[in-house]
Subunit: 191 residues, 2 copies
Amino acid sequence: MNRTAPREDRRQLLLEEAARLFDAHGYDRTSVRQLADAVGLQSGSLFHHFDSKESILLAVLEHTIELMIERLAAAAAAPGDSRQRLEALIRAELELLHGATRHGVAVAFFQWRSLSTQSQQQILKLRERYETIWLEALELAHRDGLIVTDPFLTRRLLTGAHGWTIYWYRPDGSLDLDRLAEEVGRLLTRQ
Amino acid sequence: MNRTAPREDRRQLLLEEAARLFDAHGYDRTSVRQLADAVGLQSGSLFHHFDSKESILLAVLEHTIELMIERLAAAAAAPGDSRQRLEALIRAELELLHGATRHGVAVAFFQWRSLSTQSQQQILKLRERYETIWLEALELAHRDGLIVTDPFLTRRLLTGAHGWTIYWYRPDGSLDLDRLAEEVGRLLTRQ
DNA sequence: GTCTATATTTGGATAGAC
DNA sequence: GTCTATCCAAATATAGAC
């Protein structure tokens, strides 16, 4: 059975706890001692697994964005016309932002500035694969007359609108995620 | 002549430089030594003007949000129908984000999490006055059938879309600010 | 009101035993 | 692979002279 090896378990656990802490307090205000505590290690022991604190953030981001690409690609691959595809992507991104993956995704949206310039470039390259999926769907929607603003511009505005939901949207409130996705879709496409 | 006193000049200069540095590097990665350097002081001398590093961030935010309220209120007070008012507010917010006020406004959007919980509450109260102006305009637009999504939801999505422009929009590029504002307006209102 | 000097804490990271 | 112990740098903030 495809059971993860203990070695990978430990690393995976650390990445999850790191995502949670970086999301809750910000990368800069999270100490390596807090990270170590969260996985039941002494701070020095962390450096057996990672070269530096920054490399932990980098690993969180890489892992998270790979996952984002996977989920978004799956949503884009579902059958349907351009409207249905666009709705699927909106729904997928909101699920990434508010489902089980939320901590890592929040970090991906709002903590990348704590990386060195070099690491930022590296992450940007990864992120481009994610954005390409979006752009293809938006260009299709544009050709079909579903959206009238430029796809590139539309995506950038949408990125901000979606990312910001982290700061106000609670899926257990009166507006459920399906409904939010629907409203975003209405706003984006012909009303 | 209403000339600012030297005492106020110094404080004002520090707030401007602090906004610039906090915007460029983030509050947490800006040291008091850098702040002091930027205004030609030794680090210890800063504490004659401010109680703590956090109180500098708080002062930047208070000053900036007061200014945001002022500008937004002015835009809202201009004559015109609900569509024109909405367009004026969009334009005003984008000017705040990309004009001379941009550093402070960027800090207001993305650095508030570095404040203590108490200070965050304080800033939130101030910010509510800003948001009230938006909500009134959006409710008007909603009554006139200009927008169909809930005004409150619309504002939250718009906040994110606008704030995120910090990370990609450059007013000296091919898309000027008037044009961007126009596109945002198109997206928001009936297309 | 600014300086110099420094107290004090905390942070990331390393060394070497086990 | 983890622990203990600790190094070292950097940070915020303070004290007291000028």
